[in-house]
């Protein structure tokens, strides 16, 4: 028995495949890496944390990493954090940096948000299934992001429309307000104007401070709950309008459960293929603990960390926590 034999190889296969085919993901090096924070930037309500992680393989859009501060991971609210936390790989730079977009919602994100240049970070990844590539059926692509969920979509935008952020310098809009395109007369955007190589980007936020995160998305149509930026209402309003222009589209979405569930059911109704990037509490991120499950359509569970986070909408009867079913 050779130590290099692949477990996923079929029984009886003659020559083991040295690297199992992984069309849906970039494989992670086995073991966590010590990365060094290079910058921690404020983007409205979020932080963009850049770390030098030169050994990181190029991730597929939608993949994530498990992250922990190397020092003082613990001792926060409720004597936590203890486990690493999952974050979408938001951006990468040719200089070997990786960026994570963070929202401070608890002891783990709080600790990460306070890191500064020179602090060290444990990084395991890239993990999970990313967005499929090339897009299905040659249809035009609509990205739908909600809040911090935009972090799962930024690499898709980058791939089509490289941001200045891809180089050495941080993305524009840091600290300032984003420059969302002006909505059309209807209050909804004239979708065509937003597209760049058949990529339409829609993003919804709670407030103007959160909407500044859209600076990572290039030319995006914005909706805010409070109407402070772009369309006053939901990002699904923008999606409705966009699909009204034609359903020859594929949707890729990430955001809070209620938004994802709305996107799922709209796409189901309109028969538009959709990929959803899910969230779940995770302990390991690599399929070991069985803690991150969501119900699969037809019974059983998916592990979000290995069977997702990006799943075909058809795999779910509803998005858990999304108020569906």
């Amino acid at each position: 028995m050779s130590a290099g034999a692949a477990l996923v190889q079929q029984e009886g296969g003659a020559t083991p495949d040295p690297q199992p085919a992984a069309p849906d993901r970039t494989l992670a090096p086995f073991g966590r890496r010590l990365a060094t924070v290079t910058r921690n930037e404020s983007i409205g309500a979020y932080r963009l944390l850049w770390a030098a992680d030169p050994e990181a393989p190029a991730p597929r859009a939608g993949q994530f990493a498990m992250i922990a501060a190397a020092e003082r991971w613990g001792g926060g609210a409720g004597e936590r954090p203890y486990l690493p936390r999952a974050f979408s790989i938001a951006l990468t730079s040719p200089a070997g940096e990786t960026a994570f977009l963070l929202e401070d919602v608890g002891p783990g994100t709080h600790r990460l948000c306070e890191l500064s240049e020179g602090d060290r970070l444990w990084v395991l990844g890239p993990l999970g299934r990313g967005f499929s590539d090339p897009p299905l059926h040659g249809r035009r692509t609509i990205l739908v992001g909600g809040g911090i969920g935009i972090a799962a979509l930024t690499l898709l935008v980058q791939a089509r429309e490289p941001l200045s952020a891809r180089g050495e310098s941080p993305p524009q809009g840091t600290g300032g307000s984003p420059q969302p395109s002006t909505p059309g007369a209807s209050g909804l955007p004239a979708g065509g104007e937003r597209r760049c190589e058949a990529l339409t980007v829609l993003a919804g936020f709670r407030s103007g401070a959160h909407a500044q995160g859209a600076s990572l998305l290039g030319a995006a149509s914005i909706a805010t709950d409070d109407g402070s930026v772009g369309h006053a209402g939901r990002v699904t309003d923008l999606l409705h309008a966009e699909l009204a222009r034609g359903t020859d589209a594929v949707v890729r979405a990430c955001g809070p459960p209620a938004m994802l569930e709305a996107v799922r059911s709209i796409c189901e109704r309109e028969r538009v293929p959709a990929e959803l990037a899910l969230e779940a509490s995770m302990a390991c991120g690599f399929g070991a603990c069985y803690g991150c499950v969501v119900p699969r359509r037809g019974g059983g569970y998916l592990r979000v960390c290995v069977d997702g986070p990006v799943v075909d909408a058809a795999e779910l009867a509803s998005v858990p926590g999304g108020g569906g079913q």
Binding site: M1, A3, G4, A5, A6, L7, V8, Q9, E11, P16, P18, Q19, P20, A22, R25, L27, A28, P29, F30, G31, R32, A68, G74, G78, E79, R80, P81, Y82, L83, P84, W122, L124, L127, A280, S281, M282, A283, C284, G285, F286, G287, A288, C289, Y290, G291, C292, V293, V294, G299, G300, Y301, R303, V306, P320
Partner: protein, 289 residues
């Protein structure tokens, strides 16, 4: 640093805790590097039951101070699918395979052991006796008498090394270890998770889909050390010590308390190669004692 456990020759004294490492999933994530750098000196499967189980409804995890509460509910595809589909894959791992099984009666456990007996790929059997007895609601493993009976029933069905994984939720863990030894176990392993609960912030109703869960990680290490020491003082068979081990020093402590080898569970979630690092450090000479 090579060690022997119940006749199995292990390259080093660090294995995984059952249910805390899925080698098949890990290969999807890490590719063949997982196999080249396989961190454990034996691979313990997650708990296998006669029939397939989907596990508990989510949420299944809760982070506790210096610990993790899980309520996974032993999802597995059942004995037949395990033997037919997982075993051939797992047999390609470069280490001996220990299959962990659970049943709620002596008959079920004996059937599971009997099926494993015929498979040369399986080097040893670990009995998870933390399962609640359907009648009393208590763990079968917390009652020395029941545990003795269950171990004997399994022993009759297998010549393979038999490890009994004790429950920590017992008044007298050494008496349980003694019962396992008397019933014919070749080794005992401990500790499993401590029964624990978590409430949802806001409405303070049970957070875990399974109602209650089990606490693991650094929070339980001192409890594990005490139980291992008490069991070592009582039985002569080898002990697999686990509970909150994070580094070589913790492994050395567990061994000093009486364990023959150690297992790493929750810490692998934070660092999947930690077992290999511990093994490497255990090879280095220590200044003291």
């Amino acid at each position: 640093m090579s060690v022997e456990l119940c006749g199995m020759q292990l390259a080093h004294p660090v294995i995984n805790g059952s249910g805390t490492f899925d080698a098949i999933a890990a290969e999807r994530v890490f590719g063949t590097e997982l196999i080249e750098l396989f961190p454990f000196s034996a691979y313990v499967s997650k708990t296998i039951t006669l029939r397939a189980r989907e596990g508990n409804p989510p949420p299944r995890l809760w982070e506790a101070p210096a610990g993790l509460i899980n309520s996974i509910g032993l999802p597995n595809r059942g004995l037949d699918a395990y033997l037919a589909e997982d075993l051939p894959r797992l047999a390609r791992l470069p280490v001996p395979l220990i299959t962990n099984v659970m049943g709620s009666t002596a008959e079920e456990l004996a059937e599971l052991a009997g099926a494993c007996e015929t498979r040369p790929q399986i080097a040893a059997i670990e009995l998870n006796v933390s399962c609640p007895n359907v009648k009393t609601g208590l763990d079968i493993g917390s009652d020395p008498e029941q545990l003795h009976g269950v171990t004997r029933a399994v022993r009759r069905r297998t010549g393979k090394p038999l490890i009994v994984k004790l429950t920590p939720n017992a008044a007298d863990v050494p008496a349980c270890a003694q019962a396992a030894q008397d019933g014919g176990a070749d080794a005992v392993s401990l500790i499993n998770t401590l029964r624990a609960a978590a409430l949802r912030p806001g409405d303070r109703r049970p957070w875990l889909g399974g109602g209650t869960g089990g606490l693991s990680g650094p929070a339980i290490r001192a409890v594990a050390l005490a139980q291992v020491a008490a069991v070592a003082a009582r039985v002569s068979i080898p002990i697999v010590g686990m509970g909150g081990i994070q580094c070589a020093e913790h492994a050395r402590e567990m061994i000093a308390a009486g364990a023959d080898i150690v297992a790493v569970g929750t810490e692998s979630f934070r660092d999947p190669t930690v077992a290999a690092q511990i093994a490497a450090q255990l090879r280095e000479p220590v200044a003291s004692p």
